[in-house]
Amino acid sequence: MTWDRQAAGAGVGALLIAAMLGGCNTDPTVNKDDDFEGMNRAFYKFNDALDKHIIKPVAEEYVKVTPQIIRTGVTNFFYNMDSPNVILNDILQGKLKQAWDDTGRFITNSTIGVGGLFDPASGSGLIRHEEDLGQTFGKWGMGEIDYLVIPLVGPNSVRDAPDLVTSALLSPLYYASFVVTFPLGALNAINTRANLLDASRIVEEAALDPYSFVREAYRQNRIYKIYDGNPPIKVEEENLDTGETGVLHVY
């Protein structure tokens, strides 16, 4: 049994290393093609239908019946639960000052902030940082490798997906009983979706091909986060004469 676990661990490790080596020479600002477009579009369609018929209506109802102050508290609570993952990735990216600040933030909000429902830390200058394992890999120079749409999760990539596991394992909620974890997980999903209602309205209004629109927005948002809000600005127009397939980057 122990051996199996070790083997599994080694397997995952080897895959990660292979992925990293494969991605090492890739510029994180270069948007690649979409090798799994067929599968991705199918999952996108599935997620979209699920969202349209169940998740979005529930989120809209939730916004109607819950005052803003409660929703802010819920958002704060789940942000606080993400803190250990943020701190680990601060360290992995060599941002030690930020790791120290985020630790102070986690302690402050967990205690004075009543288990994270309030955010007194932001008031005292310890603002929230968004870090995850995908950003760490990006910071280390890895490209996205391949764009992925994951059922129930949404837009993602080979580089970013491992964070789904580490962020879950590093959330204190993971170690609570299932009786607590399950309803809280559902609340987190609905609250997160509620926070995205404006963004999804823009997609609905503006996108001609929502799949392509969301993919591009996801990729750019990831680059923005990898570079902590200051991505290199590139203006590379496609070569109109040769019809080169090179993708346009304008950041």
Partner: protein, 210 residues
């Protein structure tokens, strides 16, 4: 000794004479680029403040001249359509340009439909290599939350400073539209793209009572 002093003073004098001039000359395009963005922002705030009395149609009429004047639509259209541009006729180019610029104005008229104390502020004006100038601005909402809006401004074909791209919190409008629109051309063809654009415009024109 005195000679040295004299020449030094002369040099200083000369420097003092020229110093205020040269940076000002360099700042000229930066000011023009900044003006383009700030005039657009002023118009948006004005329309937001009068949004309910204007209604969608009124906002559209107010914004059309300023939006048309602020953006370099011919350059934008070429970049968005990308490698398909060369495969289209002049007539197609004109039809796309027309639909796209109308859709852009309609989008502004539809989104800036209320005023809740928002303000725009210019944070920095940064010349890039080549002729591009990035005007970094922020849209500050009443609750203090900030949307970063970076404008890429460059001279158009006839030498006017025009906005080429808007980057909102790191997401480039130009790349987004390029990805979105070329996917439609690739999968469904150019006529489908044009039909979708016109469909969007008419949807904005009859929103839920706004």
């Amino acid at each position: 000794m005195f000679k040295k002093f004299l020449s030094l003073s002369l040099i200083l004098l000369a420097a003092a004479w020229f110093a205020p001039n040269s940076p000002a000359a360099a700042e000229q395009p930066q000011n023009e680029a900044k003006q383009v963005v700030e005039k657009l922002h002023e118009a948006l705030i004005d329309v937001m403040k009068r949004s309910s009395q204007l209604g969608y149609q009124g906002r559209l009429e107010n914004l059309t001249p300023i939006v048309q004047k602020s953006f370099d639509f011919p350059a934008i259209a070429k970049i968005i359509v990308g490698r398909y541009w060369g495969t289209l006729s002049d007539q197609d180019h004109q039809a796309f340009l027309d639909a796209f610029s109308r859709l852009s104005t309609a989008t502004y008229a539809s989104r800036f439909d209320s005023y809740g104390g928002e303000t725009f502020r210019t944070v920095a004006v940064e010349p890039q290599s080549g002729q591009d100038i990035i005007v970094k601005t922020e849209l500050v909402q009443a609750d203090g939350s900030v949307v970063k809006l970076d404008y890429v401004v460059r001279p158009s074909e006839n030498g006017q400073w025009r906005i080429l791209n808007v980057i909102a919190d790191g997401v480039s409008d130009l790349s987004l539209k390029h990805a979105d629109y070329t996917a439609v051309i690739k999968n469904e063809g150019y006529p489908a793209l044009l039909a979708r654009l016109n469909d969007k415009i008419s949807k904005y024109a009859k929103p839920s009572g706004k």
